[in-house]
């Protein structure tokens, strides 16, 4: 908790920001407030991304099957499938790609074809 110059503590976000602003003003460093704000935004985005899980499919019609497969994979990994977002990326050609919470499962056709190509040409 941030304590202001007058001893106020920031028990709510609004009070915390006010206490921080007062503290910086008291120390003559008010100009730092905007960069601290930006750092907070970056940190919050990063924290949100940590729990995000995205399923990328090549075509919209693949979504249902991909979700079913992805949920099975997540169960195997002891991860819940809550908040699973879906995106379309036609460069995958086919299949699906599941990414988030520090894990990647790539079952896209592009990945399979690249693996075959790399092994054959190396």
């Amino acid at each position: 908790m941030i304590a202001g110059g007058d001893g106020r503590t920031g028990k709510t976000p609004r009070a915390a920001v006010a206490a921080l602003r007062d503290l910086l003003a008291a120390k003559g460093k008010s100009t730092l407030l905007s960069s601290i704000g930006r750092a907070f935004v970056r940190h919050a985005e990063r924290e949100m991304r940590k729990d995000e899980m995205t399923l990328v499919v090549a075509r919209e019609k693949d979504e249902r099957k991909a979700k079913r497969d992805a949920k099975a994979v997540l169960e195997n990994l002891n991860m819940g499938s809550d908040g699973l977002k879906t995106q379309i990326d036609d460069t995958l050609i086919g299949g699906w790609r599941l990414e988030g919470r520090g894990v990647l499962v790539d079952m896209s056709y592009k990945k399979q074809l690249l693996d075959i190509y790399n092994r054959a040409t190396s």
Binding site: K50, V73, D89, G102, L104, Y117, R119, A120, T121
Partner: protein
């Protein structure tokens, strides 16, 4: 695409079985100057290799056209992510790029097929002779052999340089520093040592590894050419991390070199490795450390700069018979500024190594080459590896030269000197001439013994100082023609017995009679 590639593709398709494999990934949050900050990868290991996923959002054709995989090396584990050095082209990395963990520490290929090849700091061939077929992968970072696995240095490593083999002998498994200002002949000594190994019997000939760190490509190309012309490339490997390579590769090159050498050492072979030079490696490491935001210390080097060199040079050792009896002899090179050996990096490496060969610009400019300062140069363990033959002829040379250097200042008052001092100066001047040697022309040890025996017997005493070098060369050729058996016997036994001494005395007498023009009676 040729038919064999098509067949390969068909085979790969038949064998392909996609699996639901979950890999640990992170995302690039910042990139610059060869260092990336990555969010995630919370299970990454220190020194783990990570792979940058360059295919995000790209079509198949573009992904196939990419110039191979791009890897990084984890160097900092932090609270929210990791920082890694990029082992390749940083321009291919962008913010948000997926980075995957490989679960492997960095390893380089090694094996007999690397002999005669030029490789990068990652062990990839850079000489256009194609990929390696069946290499053994060796971990770049490995703990040095322990005390129990080692034995003392006892076998000489002949450099072919008279001044070194006689006064600063090096043994197999030793670490001998070559230190001096730029342009004083440090690399020349190292390369001559590599070339001289062709005089060793094939079964005991050391494998030579030359690690070029931050050098000009033209210099490395010249060295490769020289080794090829002298027939030394066939038992040598060049690890090249040029000045144009990222700092991470310059920092890794010596470790890659020693990892390649350890393959041979583990199989009971002797290895000679030259690090040219560790000053540039330290600078590259400082650059990486500052970019990784590690706290700077003295001269802005990081706190573990000593460990950088000690853990590298400790890997040079001689293993005992149970471990195969192999060895790695290290010749690290350090460049000084204005002859200052008390700098941070020079003192560190001096304290780690088993001796140093100190080259000075003054001697070099006077034409005394190799420009070794005998007073400061020392070999702490090599004398126990010196052959008896060399010991018997080289015993007094260092003292004689040291006395000569002290008296040299009085040379300008030559007319006022007493006879003993004047004789000592004259003798010293001739010994200096005897120890001079052209670059790229190492001399086999048996011939060195014969020349130094002749010098200590006063053979050059009647030769004009300016003519000593040419008489020495003629005498060496004379021995080759008429006394090859004596030289062979000295080489085989490692001793200079009475019989050999008599024959060398006879050779000197014969040479004197055959070339009286070189010998003027002393005035």
């Amino acid at each position: 695409m040729d038919s064999s590639t098509v067949e390969k593709v068909i085979r790969e398709i038949e064998q392909h079985s996609p699996r639901h494999e979950a890999i640990h990934v992170g995302r690039v949050s910042a990139v610059g100057d060869g260092v990336v900050a990555i969010d995630g990868l919370d299970k990454a290991l220190m020194s783990e290799v990570i792979e940058f996923e360059g295919t995000d959002g790209k079509g198949l054709a573009d992904s196939m056209a990419d110039q191979g995989s791009l890897y990084g090396l984890v160097l900092n584990l932090e609270e929210d992510g990791v920082r890694a050095a990029v082992l390749g082209d940083t321009a291919r990395i962008h913010e948000g790029m997926t980075v995957r963990s490989t679960g492997q520490v960095l390893a380089v290929p090694s094996g007999d097929e690397l002999l005669g090849r030029v490789v990068s700091a990652l062990g990839e061939p850079v000489d256009g002779k194609g990929p390696f077929k069946n290499p053994t992968m060796m971990a770049v970072e490995r703990i040095a052999s322990g005390v129990i696995d080692r034995k003392s240095v006892s076998v000489p490593l002949q450099t072919g340089v008279k001044a070194i083999d006689s006064m600063i002998p090096i043994g197999r498994g030793q670490r001998e520093l070559i230190i001096g200002d730029r342009g004083t002949g440090k690399t020349t000594i190292a390369i001559d040592t590599i070339i001289n190994q062709r005089n060793e019997p094939e079964d005991s000939r050391p494998i030579c590894i030359y690690v070029a760190i931050g050098q000009k490509e033209s210099k490395t190309a010249r060295i490769v050419q020289q080794l090829r012309e002298q027939g030394a490339l066939e038992y040598s490997i060049i690890v090249d991390a040029p000045a144009s390579a990222p700092a991470a590769l310059q920092f890794l090159a010596p470790y890659a070199g020693v990892a390649i050498g350890e393959y041979f050492m583990d199989r009971g072979k002797d290895v000679l490795i030259v690090y040219d030079d560790l000053s540039k490696q330290a600078v590259a490491y400082r650059e990486i450390s500052l970019l990784l935001r590690r706290p700077p210390g003295r001269e802005a080097y990081p706190g573990d700069i000593f460990y950088l060199h000690s853990r590298l040079l400790e890997r040079a050792c001689r293993l005992n018979e149970e471990k195969g009896g192999g060895s790695i002899t290290a010749l690290p090179i350090i460049e000084t500024q204005e002859g200052d050996v008390s700098g941070y990096i020079p003192t560190n490496v001096i304290s780690i190594t088993d001796g140093q060969i100190f080259l000075i610009a003054d001697l070099f400019n006077k034409g005394i080459r190799p420009a070794i300062d005998v007073g400061v140069s020392v070999s702490r363990v090599g004398s126990s590896a010196q052959t008896k033959a060399m010991k018997s002829v080289a015993g007094g040379i260092k003292l004689e030269l040291a006395q000569f250097r002290e008296l040299e200042a009085f040379m300008q008052f030559a007319s006022d000197l007493d006879k003993e001092t004047a004789d000592r100066i004259e003798s010293g001047r001739r010994m200096v001439e005897v120890l001079k040697q052209k670059n790229g022309a190492p001399i086999p040890v048996e011939k060195q013994v014969a020349i130094l025996y002749a010098a200590s017997a006063g053979f050059f005493g009647e030769v004009a100082v300016s003519g000593v070098t040419s008489v020495e060369k003629q005498f060496a050729d004379f021995l080759d023609i008429g006394y090859a058996k004596v030289l062979d016997a000295v080489k085989a036994s490692g001793q200079l017995g009475d019989d050999a001494k008599k024959k060398l005395d006879k050779a000197m007498e014969e040479f004197r009679l055959a070339h009286p023009e070189h010998f003027a009676p002393a005035k």
